[in-house]
Symmetry: C2
Subunit: 172 residues, 2 copies
């Protein structure tokens, strides 16, 4: 069975309007696997570098549960879920250190530190932030885009499974 999605569905997975528009133009999709394959091609080969920056700006700083106001409600909710391990393992001092390094990162690179946080502790995330901070901006830009794609893939899976659940309930 093919599943149809619109631009807003894809904006919840990745905050770039160019990406979401292009994804919607390929709807419907035969499977999650099919959508991921199209999404990867669009993300790495077809959108502008500005689209990457727009997508990054839809994420909250890691360790913060408050998403930017322009992020969609679904995106904000998923972001909280993705950070659940980090938040469960956080202490006051590690959150403070994370906030300081986030600010330092933002100052150096001009965009938020992006990491696919699912299942990762605050200590792991902080170590990764410090390691990546030493990168050249262009290198870090590409790493952030790869992390964004990992997040997008997880969210596409959620999008498909929620739609499949609705379909199977409706079919009964």
């Amino acid at each position: 069975m093919e599943l149809s999605f619109d631009e807003n569905d894809f904006l919840s997975c990745c905050g770039s309007t160019q990406f979401a528009k292009l994804m919607a133009s390929f709807s419907p999709f035969s499977s999650h696997h099919h959508a991921v394959s199209i999404a990867r091609d669009i993300w790495f080969n077809n959108v502008h570098v500005n689209a990457w920056l727009q997508a990054f700006s839809a994420h909250p700083s890691i360790g913060q549960t408050r998403s930017p106001s322009h992020a969609s409600q679904t995106s904000a909710q998923w972001s909280k879920g993705e950070q659940s391990t980090a938040l469960a393992t956080a202490t006051g001092s590690s959150l403070q250190e994370l906030a300081e390094w986030n600010a330092r990162y933002m100052q150096k690179f001009g965009f938020v530190f992006l990491i696919c946080a699912s299942g990762r502790s605050t200590d792991e995330i902080l170590a990764e932030l410090k390691r990546r901070y030493t990168n050249r901006p262009i290198v870090e830009f590409e790493i952030a885009a790869e992390e964004q794609m990992k997040i997008t893939e997880l969210r596409l899976a959620k999008l498909f499974s929620s739609r499949e659940n609705i379909s199977s309930t409706t079919d009964k």
Copy 2:
């Protein structure tokens, strides 16, 4: 003898305000070589990727002599000089083809096609544009930044030689 320059001088060499501010913070310079070495480090290791986009946006499309309105007067004038070989070797049809490929490039990448044009014919530039058009956006972004640095180096040389000429005239 050390030579001093301000932010506006550097904005004529490269249209990124972050780059120009950082360069000005290192003024005075002992030589052109000294300035180039600092400029390369700032450009490739310290400015945001957004600063690259800002610098690109200060250039006219290649084959056009009209610079964007936010480019400095000196930058617009130097840009014309840098394109003198291209313009001297251009025919109506090659300029037309260049304009079409420029538009196609802009649509794919979201920024102007950037090439250090000094001494290059329109045909050479067009061949390079077509070759680079096939690149992934992130690859092309880095190549454009390298071309911007070549242009910046040529302009820094002009900046230093004009200032040295003034100094030597004043000294007489």
